[in-house]
Symmetry: C2
Subunit: 329 residues, 2 copies
DNA sequence: TATCTTTCCGGGAACGTTACCGGGAAGGTT
DNA sequence: AACCTTCCCGGTAACGTTCCCGGAAAGATA
């Protein structure tokens, strides 16, 4: 149960703790003979150094915290994979937390990560009120936002231009001749608000003035199927549905199919994220590419720089969205 | 940059470090007045206790390591989500590592987790040689295997019966009248071998004696598209393809579509895992349900028990696979 | 008043590791 | 022979926290 420690290695090889430490860390001031003895003793004991003690001493844990809404959404799975691919090379470990779109859980996750003394944090913020971000700011921990923007603009982030996403979607659906377009949005987070602005503004400019009932947020604990079902039951009769992300679009498609609604003949559906599975769906899903995996990679690279050189240099990357037309619209 | 510590809180509230510690941990032997003073000082300083120091003292980090092949595969994303849902309630943190089907990376991941002094490990083993498992065994860390079995049978695990999976698939495809069935398998891991046994044995019993060229492993760094492409180019002419998992089945479908092959008219496709997106594909994917999310939940529950009571009691869960027939076969 | 509880608090050791510093032994230089 | 390097090595403090133990002050009992 209890791991063997440096002192055990030292005793077994007949040297002091300091010497054992130097030998294991390839420091100078150790003769080849004793170094060999120490290494062999460590091997025999199955010695595994404690990152806890190291971290306590050095002030760095070689660990990065990542907070997303849920890893079940392939979008965030890809983001995390991207982050991992960058941090792995630098021997950083990743501590994963999920907020499930709940600001309280987000705050709790950040708090736990700070207790763990992670060297940095990558966060996909859920709250429109930047409480978690403020908390991070106060604690002076290097951090980067990913996928979603925070209201506070000078914060480092890697996102895709949200206003353009909303505008692009509206533009496309208008061009397809739609006049009654439902927007099933995420709730709370600032990116959702920006997409909504871009979406509604573009509709207005095209002379389509829909009431607020045409934008439906999916709140915590709610499922897309419920929200969409309610809309259809109350007879809003949309000809097209724009969803906050592909995952939600897929859920919407499932509900539509269940009800026997034909896509896109009766109702068109589009999403955002360009998940790779989108092209394999029935029908293939029209979406907006947001350079998904680049987000993870980019945010990790920025965080690496911030952790290594502590200049206050700020970096914000706004990726350009691109429409991907397929058969669902 | 540098966090405020317990000593800072103590000084600011005019008490000793011991008293500050007791006050913050709701211990007795602190007067209400001083407790309030300490709490206020901690609040004002934005004090965040260090899990490092706590862990060093207590021997527990309230942290669990999880090693999967890649979180990009929704199967493992669901497993991790299940694990998370259980461990979150007990305030455990999760350290995530990916092996990418590479035994060396798997071993490195386990090693890193041990250095971090995680309280337990959940592993989806990649190697058929149980080196990582042996390493875990030697270090006496509580651990559970998930999703894949190890050759060593007395190890705790939560898996779906692999032999049955292979048999079920073969049975189904035979019933559909197929005689030339390609198996695109994973490589190395023991579960893959068991599925292959079940698959081939069932074919043999049905009088179908295919050569070894009908089972194709996808090796590290290889893509399903390449392997399948090579098979088709060499003119093996299968009428059905059974894939190790849905993710691979989707990749296979993509390649088939790219080549203009009709599914299932020219070639039928089936997978394993019953990912939720399967029913939305074109065509909907025949698959085998393996109680995906139950795996994560179950493994986390077992691990929790092992971490809390250190009896050597061993637990192995073999879930029952279930065929899900859809239009792709 | 003397003794005994009770209540509250502080000192110190320990968890496992690393860096700093000082010192002994061996060998080379004047 | 005296001194100076060079090469190795060990002791010690420190990282931030918790628990154990001892002790002071105040109140209760004789």
């Amino acid at each position: 149960m209890t791991h063997s420690k440096l002192r055990d290695v030292a005793e077994r090889s007949g040297v002091s703790i300091s010497t054992a430490s130097r030998a294991l860390n390839n420091r100078a001031d150790v003769s080849p003979a004793t170094r060999a003895r120490v290494l062999r003793a460590a091997e025999e004991l199955g010695y595994v150094p404690s990152s806890l003690a190291k971290g306590l001493w050095s002030g760095s844990t070689k660990t990065v915290g990542v907070v997303v809404t849920t890893i079940s959404n392939p979008f965030y799975a890809n983001v995390v994979t991207g982050i991992e691919s960058v941090l792995d090379r630098e021997a950083y470990n990743i501590v994963l937390n999920s907020s499930h779109e709940d600001p309280m859980r987000e705050l709790r996750a950040v708090r736990l990560l700070l207790e763990q003394r992670v060297d940095g944090i990558i966060l996909a913020p859920v709250a429109s009120e930047p409480t978690a971000v403020e908390y991070l700011e106060k604690n002076k921990v290097p951090y980067v936002l990913v996928g979603r923007r925070a209201r506070n603009v000078e914060v480092d982030h890697v996102v895709c231009d949200d206003y353009s996403i909303g505008a692009l979607a509206a533009e496309h659906l208008i061009k397809r001749g739609h006049k009654r377009i439902l927007f099933i949005n995420s709730s709370q987070n600032y990116s959702a608000q920006l997409r909504q602005e871009g979406f509604c503004q573009t509709l207005l400019e095209a002379g389509i003035d829909q009431g607020p009932e045409w934008v439906r947020p999916v709140r915590i604990g709610q499922r897309v199927e419920e929200v969409l079902g309610a809309v259809l039951d109350e007879g809003l009769n949309p000809t097209a549905i724009f969803c906050f992300c592909d995952q939600m679009a897929i859920d919407a498609m499932r509900e539509l199919k269940r009800r026997g609604v034909r896509i896109p003949d009766d109702i068109a559906v589009m999403g955002v994220d360009n998940l790779s599975v989108g092209e394999m769906l029935d029908p293939p899903l029209t979406t907006i590419d947001v350079q998904n995996s680049q987000m993870g990679i980019g945010s990790a690279q920025i965080l690496l720089r911030k952790m290594q050189q502590h200049d206050g240099y700020s970096e914000q990357i706004n990726l350009v969205p691109r429409l991907v037309e397929r058969a669902s619209t």
